[in-house]
């Protein structure tokens, strides 16, 4: 059985609205953030209406209920990404926080001046800037694996950039700007062959394809709740047990300790050690509901549904005179970036919005990708599990309207 998109439509209240008073919303900006199903909102609402309590510290029932639901989500995440144990799962505020934690807590102490960190040319700013900051702090050097004109990582060049100075690799699974699905299993294997640990930025991947950390054998993996039909303000850092054991906490405070005296503080066990302070409890519970939701549909179904829509949209866009697709890798997730002769992406975005079609226009927090293709911005269409063939038709009609205006 595939994905019955007309059933899931009813789960997303935001889809029922009219844009600018006239046009049914056609939401094609899922790579920026996905809409949220009612199940997620209900779970968070339940926490705020009934179960509000702090976790890990109360003797009362509310605190116990909150703790149970919070910790249950850890198991939900573990199963979702095929991790060995719930102890491999650290809750963070998002992918950005997860990457920064690894940079400062795990990689920093391994670096001497002249050591190298390797990323690719298609990374999101969240997987560039933390490493640049780290290089400034340590004298390490950031190396960048090049990509070809289709938006594929050049594996041979990547392999050459793995040197005896390489101390860490951090690579995106799915490019948010191009849609490319990177051959990260091969990239991880090449790094491991040289004893180099790898972080996978899966922010764009978890909502578009099944992710299996055991099969990938990555040392760390990071993602956010809000691109996975869950709330903002919560994310995950997965780490292998031995990797987390070697990572220092970056934030100190409550809940991450066993005992505190002014002379000595003993850290809590892993993963609590990495969750200082009161975490986003409602958001973690909401993330759990989101994962339950997509799991019930099946990530494999979501993946093939979105790929189908992407291929239809890409073909139809390519047939419009003056349209050029940016990112034409044979292995792509549900993302189509494009530019158009005579019409700037910003203008495309405004005209599409005036017709109810929501897309992203800009550099997608991936300016080096734009520089690679010699453009300032693209218009980007990104699909979610609730998008339909009719959405693609609306998109194409709207892009044709842009052409009429700017021809």
């Amino acid at each position: 059985m595939g994905l019955d998109v007309y059933t899931v439509l009813n789960d997303f209240p935001a889809l029922g609205q009219l844009v600018h008073g006239h046009y049914p919303l056609v939401y094609l900006d899922n790579a920026a953030t996905t809409l949220k199903p009612r199940q997620v909102m209900d779970a968070m609402n339940q926490y705020y209406r009934v179960d509000t309590g702090n976790i890990h510290r109360g003797v009362h029932q509310l605190s116990q209920h909150a703790t149970e639901k919070y910790e249950k989500t850890r198991t939900t995440v573990q199963r979702f990404i095929q991790a060995e144990s719930p102890d491999n799962i650290v809750f963070t505020s998002g992918t950005t926080a997860s990457i920064n934690m690894v940079a400062q807590g795990y990689v920093r102490k391994r670096l001497s001046p002249g050591d190298e960190i390797l990323i690719t040319h298609m990374e999101h700013h969240a997987n560039i800037v933390p490493w640049q900051m780290l290089c400034e702090q340590t004298g390490a050097v950031l190396k960048v694996a090049p990509i070809d004109d289709e938006g594929n990582v050049l594996l041979e060049a990547y392999e050459h950039l793995l040197t005896d100075r390489t101390r860490f690799v951090s690579v995106g699974y799915v490019s948010n700007a191009l849609g490319t699905v990177n051959p990260i299993d091969a990239m991880i294997a090449l790094a491991h062959a040289r004893g180099v640990a790898v972080l996978v930025d899966a922010a764009q991947a978890v909502a578009t394809l099944p992710v299996d950390v055991k099969a990938l054998d990555c040392d760390f993996l990071a993602f956010s709740g809000h691109k996975l039909y869950g709330p903002t303000g919560v994310g995950v850092l997965y780490g292998k047990a031995e990797a987390l054991a070697e990572m220092d906490p970056v934030f100190g405070g409550g809940d991450m300790i066993l005992s505190v005296t002014f002379e000595k503080t003993l850290y809590n066990r892993i993963p609590a050690r990495f969750e200082a302070g009161t975490p986003p409890i409602a958001e973690v519970i909401g993330l759990g509901a989101a994962i339950d939701y997509v799991t019930e549909i099946g990530m494999a179904h979501v993946a093939s549904h979105e790929r189908g829509l992407m291929q239809d949209a890409q073909e139809a866009l390519q047939a419009i005179p003056g349209v050029r697709i940016i990112g034409t890798s044979p292995d792509k997730a549900g993302i189509v970036s494009f530019v158009m002769d005579g019409a700037h992406p910003h203008d495309i975005g405004t005209i599409l919005d005036s017709l109810g079609v929501a897309i992203r226009a800009g550099h997608h927090c991936a300016q080096p990708v734009m520089q690679r293709f010699g453009i300032a911005a693209t218009a980007r269409v990104s699909f979610g599990l609730y998008n339909t063939q009719a959405d693609v038709d609306h998109l194409i009609a709207a892009v044709n309207k842009v052409r009429e205006i700017f021809a």
Binding site: H20, G342, A343, H344, P345, H346, D347, T350, I351, S354, L355, A361, G362, H363, M370, A376, A377, I405, F406
Partner: protein
Amino acid sequence: MNMTDELYQEVILDHNRHARNYHAMTDATHTAEGYNPLCGDHYQVHLKLNDQGVIESLAFEGEGCAISKASLSIMTDALKGKTADEAKALFEAFHDLVTGQAPSKDSDKSLGKLAVFGGVCKFPSRIKCATLGWHALMGALNQSQGRVSTE
């Protein structure tokens, strides 16, 4: 007229397609950059101010969306022969127009062709496109007086 037609009026589309004063200037007295990191719009505005404080000529170079380009094109036409103070007054009137603030009667008249940007106020995300070139121009004019450009 629907919302988009109100924004993309024929005059704006024409100035986007055939921008006026769209070239380098070798004898500019002032040059400043306008850059919007959000969308990548990037321009250089050149002007020549004479001894009497009158803007003798203006030009611009760069790339960006239709709104920013048309705005620069029309602005560089409108400010020819104006003093720096007149240019600032016109910017204030233009700013009121695109941010949807009630214009005073006088500024309404003085706007002339710039009035085609009246639809911008309904598109809050596009106000910066319309004002980008103006901010660059103000930056260029303020440089000579040793002041820092502010919004």
